[in-house]
């Protein structure tokens, strides 16, 4: 029997998480590279429709891992169910998207199986028969190629945006779907999750903005936000921020960009004093044009910027506002 790559797609609140397609693309690429068989799985209660959706892609088989105790999500139930399934199927490699749900249970699952997870990867390499997984370190300033030094199964999670979900190949014909009923014993689930909710209604929908001026720690003080606001007004854009700015209460939470805030892809994203931590980058890297102004020439934001200015934003923004106003006035 050939080795297997298992992609565990994520369903949440009755929806297949889009980032699952990215992981499937990664799985297809890895399968092509290694010659291993690609299978997929989805866990939950009544997940046959998701399994069928995934079966349309180029995979050898899709498993619907079923138990009424998988709904609502708990780390105890998911870890228990996937452990049973993985022990049964013995895949070599288990791939999942690095979502808030996956990072909640994968370390537990890997530990329960005496294994480890290489988390939040952005790619892979095959070198001399060895698989290496690339992940960002030190907030994206450096990258590391990481290998497994233990026996399979190997758990890997991929960062949102690491692969193109729309590149997931369709299959010639639907893959077979198999239902696997797992038993989750009484007392396994200790957490009682309540309804998922949204804090207040989102006052600002930044996803619709064409121009976003975003501020980070480099803005230094709350009163300096005004400067960014003036630039936003001059350009006719929306003001946004990285997480620390919202944590400090300098701008409301609904203006936060990143994994815990909004994900945007405007025509122009102008980052002022934003270093570019991974959690921020995932929320804006799809922007058509990224301009970054930062005094630290090694700031990771420059890795993804189209135009970069290494310098003090307090020197550059005031003349920039004037030049923008002049240009708008037809100068």
């Amino acid at each position: 029997m050939s080795d297997t790559i298992l992609v565990v797609v994520e369903q949440r609140e009755g929806k297949l998480n889009r980032v699952s397609w990215e992981t499937l693309t990664a799985g297809q690429a890895l399968a092509a590279e290694t010659g291993w068989t690609l299978e997929a799985a989805v866990a939950g209660s009544g997940v046959a429709n998701f399994a069928n959706e995934v079966a349309a892609k180029k995979v050898a088989k899709v498993h619907a891992i079923e138990s009424p105790r998988l709904e609502p999500y708990t780390p105890d139930a998911f870890s228990s169910a996937l452990k049973q399934f993985i022990e049964l199927k013995q895949p070599k490699l288990v791939l999942m998207p690095h979502t808030y749900q996956v990072r909640d249970f994968v370390p537990k699952l890997a530990t329960a199986m005496g294994r480890t997870a290489i988390s939040d990867c952005i790619g892979y390499k095959k070198e001399g028969g060895k698989l290496l997984f690339t992940r960002q370190m030190f907030q994206g300033k450096l990258a590391a190629d990481v290998s497994f030094t233990c026996d399979a199964p190997w758990f890997v999670t991929f960062q949102n945006g690491a692969f193109r979900g729309d590149k997931a190949e369709a299959g010639a014909s639907p893959a077979p779907v198999e239902t696997v009923n797992v038993q989750i014993a009484d007392g396994v689930i200790r957490n009682k999750p309540q309804e998922v909710f949204k804090e207040a209604k989102q006052a600002v929908d930044l996803t619709q903005a064409e121009i976003i001026i975003s501020v980070g720690r480099g803005i230094k003080e709350q009163k300096n936000i005004e400067l960014a606001k003036q630039l936003a007004e001059a350009l006719g854009g929306e003001l946004a921020a990285s997480r620390p700015i919202c944590d400090s209460g300098w701008l409301p939470m609904d203006r936060q960009i990143g994994s815990s805030g909004q994900t945007v892809a405007p025509k122009l994203y102008l980052a002022l004093g934003i270093s570019g931590a991974i959690q921020h980058i995932v929320g804006m890297k799809g922007s058509r044009t990224i301009i970054a102004i930062n005094k630290d020439s090694e700031a990771p934001i420059f890795e993804i910027a189209d135009f970069a200015v290494v310098g003090n934003l307090f020197d550059i923004v005031p003349p920039l506002i004037e030049e923008v106003k002049k240009a708008k006035a037809g100068g």
Partner: protein, 256 residues
């Protein structure tokens, strides 16, 4: 409530990082600071203690320099500290770090263990959850609020894209704390003075060695990431840069 807070010393955010000779780690001659989410975890533990009484214990692993993190925590109000002191702890993977912590606290009884949701250096986001599994405790991640109730605790989890969820859970439990859950306090002068007399237990690698195995994953190499974009750097005086930017905004980005 008796709360253990796992804390980590990491390179300062704007520290210039250089690779060491092995090419698999950084040169250690940089400035360090406390991992930011861990500072919020400590603050939350101190607030819980102020509400419900009990004790706050802080733990870290790393070379002697890492003691600074514990000293700062004691100055802010933690009651005592545990330092797994050895340079070898720096290279442990999440599983082995959690195993070492579990071994170091085996004679203690905590109600809660807090960690930051992830570290700013490795960024595994795993150690807290792994520790929970090793101890056989329930856990919840990315926590923005904690209330004690008769049955245990009720916590607010942050989910993606502005969604949240309350979870009821029994004690003891492990929680990973999100930055911004509270407002950080500063250490007072009297706190700094008192910290000098607070107990700090050192644990040598030899004492936890039997709990630790060879790493299950290995950093083969560390490097500056290849740029995926062709970034154009604009240079000159502030005025020149402003004019160049406006030229780009008009002719290339086409938003003016």
């Amino acid at each position: 409530m008796k709360i253990l807070v796992c804390m980590k010393q990491v390179p300062q955010k704007d520290a210039p990082l250089k690779l060491n000779e092995s090419g698999a780690w950084i040169r250690e001659d940089v400035s360090y600071e406390v991992n930011e989410p861990d500072a919020f975890a400590l603050e939350e533990a101190l607030r819980q203690k102020e509400k419900h009484g009990g004790e706050v214990v802080v733990i870290t692993s790393g070379p002697p320099r890492a003691q600074q993190v514990l000293r700062e925590a004691l100055a802010k109000g933690a009651d005592r500290a545990i330092h797994l002191e050895d340079n070898a702890f720096v290279g442990l993977d999440a599983l082995n770090t959690a195993r070492a912590f579990a071994a170091a606290i085996k004679d203690e009884t905590f109600d809660l263990i807090f960690t930051g949701l992830q570290s700013d250096d490795y960024g595994y986001a795993q150690t807290g959850v792994v520790l929970a599994e090793l101890l056989g405790w329930p856990h919840a991640t990315i926590i923005m609020q904690i209330e004690k109730n008769d049955a245990g605790i009720r916590v607010k989890r942050e989910l993606e894209a502005g969604y949240f969820q309350f979870v009821e859970m029994p004690l003891p439990a492990v929680l990973t704390i999100q930055s911004g859950i509270n407002k950080l306090r500063y250490a007072t002068l009297i706190g700094i003075k008192q910290a000098k007399n607070k107990p700090l237990r050192k644990v040598a690698m030899a004492e936890v060695q039997s709990a630790v195995s060879a790493n299950l994953q290995k950093i083969e190499r560390l490097y500056v990431p290849q740029k995926t974009k062709n970034t154009e750097f604009l240079e000159g005086s502030a005025g020149e840069v402003a004019r160049k930017l406006v030229d780009k905004l008009r002719n290339e980005v086409r938003v003016l």
